[in-house]
Symmetry: C2
Subunit: 237 residues, 2 copies
DNA sequence: AAGCCCCCCATCATTTTCGGGGAGTTGCTT
DNA sequence: AAGCAACTCCCCGAAAATGATGGGGGGCTT
């Protein structure tokens, strides 16, 4: 497997379009002998795109019904770090209806294993393998491939980020230490008076820093300035 | 290496304390034949802890001087998804003084390779290997071990999350879709009137959502609520 | 030495937000 | 059928933030 694995990773890294990634993913699916491989990403502007082997009908249905809101896989991945076996999720209520009533018919496997992936600026993605199999079989399969799947997930996401994302993230804005201080205090929930006090400067001075930080960050108001600073990692809460 | 790798991963998974992780990490360092292995985590409440092989003096110095603010490794990792070779970072200005003037003396290797890791709730961590070596040697070493390092990073972080506190992850704050909407608008820099307008709800309704989101997030004011939501990845800007 | 950025301080009128109340509908879950 | 969470709408006075202006001193870089 090891040789094959690095082969797939090379292939991933040579892909220059999402279609290219799709081909690699299909190759991977066939190699693993399973039914579905899905890579699904939500980027920082809230736009999402996916590279998958589901039927277009099911994808349309999923989007139209806004199943993302009730999908236990998505919810589960979002709050976990380690990959998650679908069997361990909570499939009650609406989720059950979605799964038993529609997803299975649409060709989604009864078993699944999803790797959560997080990138800079709040990017979130999932790399999923799905199949029709018995619990024990699936347990064995996933157990043997955890490491490989984590690596695939990483490299697919890395490539997808390179393909999709403009590298305007590199235009790092720099704030002065004091500007970072004031934004940090605000992000911690202090009001101007408290914050200025705890930095031992006048409220007016405090305001000056907020203004200049706001200007540098191209923000309309304090809240946006704080949000941007937090999102860019300039301010750690 | 493959056999060794899974051995280390098993060892990681058997660790029950951060000290246990430390032992595994030292074993890993010796096995790789390098000088330092560092795992450093920051969660969304700003608490940080580390498992590392640096001298306590250097760690104290780093914390006391708040070097996290100017450390290009931290900054660079926060903006990237893929592991980063220290050589590719911007080591000018204060960072240079820190590195040449103190870090090297403190035993930090001249070469380094850091894997960024992101978990739920805005958790952020780095897994770093550092060594004294020439560029070509280091290039070769890291090239050969990228995949392994990514995997180590993953499993160390997974274990550290389990050890440090699975409890606060369970009380994962979940915001309703509308609450996320209002915070998103605010994070984008609109004021209440504009935001309410663009969501096609009354300003007062808008306020109600902000209030309930603020309550759920345990925030003192709107700015903090937005900052927390952004930091935890609930709101994408 | 000039220019630039960082650090600090101030006023006033205007706009925006906050905090404290209260009320009604839908829709899912149990 | 009841409960609960989410969604929608409203008032008002007090408190806070903003915008538009000023000012001065210190330190690094060119």
């Amino acid at each position: 497997m090891q040789a094959k694995l690095s082969g797939f990773i090379s292939a991933i890294q040579q892909a220059t379009t999402l279609d290219g990634l799709q081909s690699v993913i299909i190759g991977l699916r066939d190699h693993l002998g399973i039914e579905h491989v899905i890579y699904h990403s939500v980027n920082s502007t809230g736009q999402q795109y996916a590279v998958l082997t589901y039927s277009p009908e099911w994808v349309d249905r999923y989007l139209a019904e806004d199943y993302a809101r009730i999908d236990p896989v998505l919810q589960g991945c979002f709050r976990r770090f380690h990959p998650v076996n679908w069997k361990t999720l909570d499939w009650s209520g609406r989720a059950q209806r979605m799964f038993l009533g529609e997803a299975l018919d649409a060709g989604v496997g009864n078993q699944g294993y999803s790797v959560p992936i997080r990138g800079p600026n709040g990017q979130f993605a999932m790399f999923t393998v799905s199949h029709r199999a018995r619990d024990a079989t699936w347990e064995k399969f996933t157990g043997e491939h955890v490491a490989d799947l984590i690596l695939f997930a990483h490299f697919v996401n890395q490539r997808a980020l390179e393909i999709e994302g403009g590298h305007d993230l590199n235009v790092m804005r720099s704030l002065s230490p004091r500007e970072i201080d004031v934004l940090t205090m605000l992000a911690m929930g202090l009001n101007r008076a408290q914050a200025a006090d705890s930095l031992a400067i006048s409220e007016h001075t405090f305001r000056t820093y907020v203004e200049s930080a706001r200007f540098k960050l191209g923000a309309n108001n304090t809240t946006q300035a704080v949000a941007r600073a937090v999102a860019e990692g300039l301010v750690l809460i």
